[in-house]
Amino acid sequence: MTATADRPAPVEPVASPGGEPGSIVGWLASTDHKRIGLLTLGTALVMMVVAGGLALTIRTQLAQPQLHVLTNDRYDQFFTIHGSLMIYMVMTPFAIGMGLYLVPLQIGAPNVAAPRTTMFSFWLYVTGAVVMLSGFFTDSGAADHGWYAYPPLATGRFTPGQGVDLWIVGVALTGLGMLIMAGTVLWTALLKRAPGVTMLRLPVFSWSVVASNLMVIGAFPSLLAAVGILAIGRVRPDLFTHNAWNIGYQDVFWFFGHPVVYVMFFPYVGAIAEVIATFAGRKFFGYKFFVVSQLLFAALSMSVWGHHMFTTGQSSNYYFSLTSIALVIPAGIEYFDLLATLVGGRLRFPTAMLFGLAFIPQFLIGGLTGIMAGTPALDYQIQDSYFLVAHWHYTLAAGSLFGLFAAVYFWFPKATGRMLREGLGKAHFWLWFVGTNLTFLPMFWLGFHGMPRRIPTYLPADGFTTENLISSIGAALLGLGAMVFIVNVAESLGRPRYAGADPWQGHTLEWATSSPPPTFNFSARYPIPPVHSYAPLLDLRREREQVRSAVE
């Protein structure tokens, strides 16, 4: 061991603390943001498989009229836990976990700020998920009041049993965990950047995490308050015989509940922006507009929560319609910049890019129908119908989830050092592209024709049969695609094809270090290159090309 002359030699023992590097303890009590990040992302993917399984069961039951795969109560538990898992345990943790893994790399920081606190938040998340799922093993079954648990339905009077208690505890733990994790990541992005990485040189993805985590800071305390109110109501159900508390709960909940759907959106758009810029071989177009519009988007989306309450007759419908429709402006700018980056690029089409491209029209459907839901006169019909189910699945499943997979295919080589198989990846993509639209497009018609959401079955005379059958067939394709993905991951880990440091000719700092990166992200062998813009590696590549052509 060598030390530079003017510094004392390290005094720490040589043995690596916290157990062997590759050991269980080395992972589970790690202070490396990459490990905590991977744990979070992995847990979220496992939860996605569980939630997806629940969804497939639901779709089986709905494939034909009057099927009874599940009893009514089981069905209610399944859609509640499907929705709760997808929101609290899959898309949100994955979004924040991506930030945790990537932001320190993108800003040239050795680690996340407060790594132990971050690990604390990961464990809150995991225990929260376990506690929520453990509801299935109680006598009364898991919670069955829907993912937003409106009182008085969710009080002890109408939904007795421990399932709901466990749901409340699970959501509180995860909510707290996500709040803390978002806080440390945001702190890192704001304060721990490497020299040269100014705020206006942050990569687009990191900016999306900044905007997203700002929303978490502002909104998640409200979730904790909401489940707190609910917990009080479990003990004293009389609380919710008063309208003030019922409608008040809805406000407190949705003050969290709307921003969180954007938390489940921003980092995925950010990822797609990186993917598209990389595979178009050019700098992301309109960086400053994109950044400002994300911040504006985030701010606006704190102000739209009342659009979930248009039909209560107790909300400011005009105000919330105004703010909801105003979201068109920042969203329009983002779309412009994404498309402008594509046009005139020299495109490559690996799987990540395919998912990124499909995101654009699919999320657009979700967005356009969202403006319909933000127009009260239309919402009075489509609220709580299958139209709405279709709408948010287009934003979350056809949109964010495609962003999630784009991110996975894009950064998997960085995180593991191995490439995912392109052939299997493309099979996955096409299955999902077809499956997603088959599953969710018919639901728009179902909603228009009067199918309410959250119903365990329907009658032949209702005339919902054809659409539901198509939808269930689509869901089967989704299941198949998910299986292909799992095989792909297993195959790529089991029979590795190693990725270099920069398999895609990336633009941002994480591609300057090894795959996977060393403990403190950058080392003597992989130093941080000079940063002059939000695409430092692209700059370097350009410079090299210029030098080469000057020599010739």
Partner: protein
């Protein structure tokens, strides 16, 4: 460019504006004050960023903790404590014990201040074909110092901030402004109800 706290502050301020626009639509008090509260939480975060920056806590962090076992135990304790809500409060009491263990474990997880005031890299932190071997957690014990001229060192630590004599005065003015703004809002609300 030191935009960091500016971003947070501007963002909180734009939320405040949106919250005030709500007033024109005669909201019930609760939604209005929720939004004000949310903006205040973000503003508080921004203030913390500002203070941290003043105190020179920006730039890459060099001193790193080496393990997080206390955090794990603490999280399990917290989970147990809350799960008592479903299964009875005796469980919460057990959770408190775990928190005690966590408090005891937390000692020595972090290097002493000054023990290693420069960035370190692991001796074999190289790309390898077997990724599992590359990871060494945050086990700083096996580390070697990075050469002095390496960019990972960053610039020298910033000088301590100059004392600002007028800070108390300014805070006082801010407080007065905030209080009067709050009263104005309350008055407006009362007038409308």
């Amino acid at each position: 460019m030191k935009l960091s706290h500016g971003v947070v502050g501007a963002w909180a301020a734009s939320n405040l504006v949106l919250a005030l626009v709500h007033l024109a639509f005669r909201p019930r008090p609760l939604p209005f004050f929720i939004y004000i509260g949310g903006s205040a939480v973000v503003a508080g975060f921004g203030l913390a960023v500002l203070l941290a920056m003043r105190a020179g806590h920006d730039g890459p962090q060099r001193r790193q903790p080496r393990r997080a076992s206390a955090a794990v135990v603490a999280a399990l304790g917290a989970a147990m404590g809350l799960t008592g809500f479903a299964y009875g409060w005796w469980l919460s009491v057990l959770g408190v014990y775990l928190l005690g263990v966590a408090a005891w474990r937390v000692r020595g997880e972090r290097l002493r201040p000054g023990a290693r005031p420069w960035p370190v890299a692991l001796g074999d932190a190289q790309p390898a074909d077997r990724p599992a071997l590359v990871y060494h957690g945050s086990s700083i014990g096996t580390a070697v110092p990075v050469p002095a001229d390496h960019p990972a060192h960053g610039p020298p630590p910033p000088a301590p901030p100059a004392p600002e004599p007028s800070a108390t005065v300014r805070r006082g003015i801010l407080l007065v402004l905030l209080v009067s703004a709050a009263r104005a809002i309350v008055n407006v609300l009362k007038g409308r109800r």
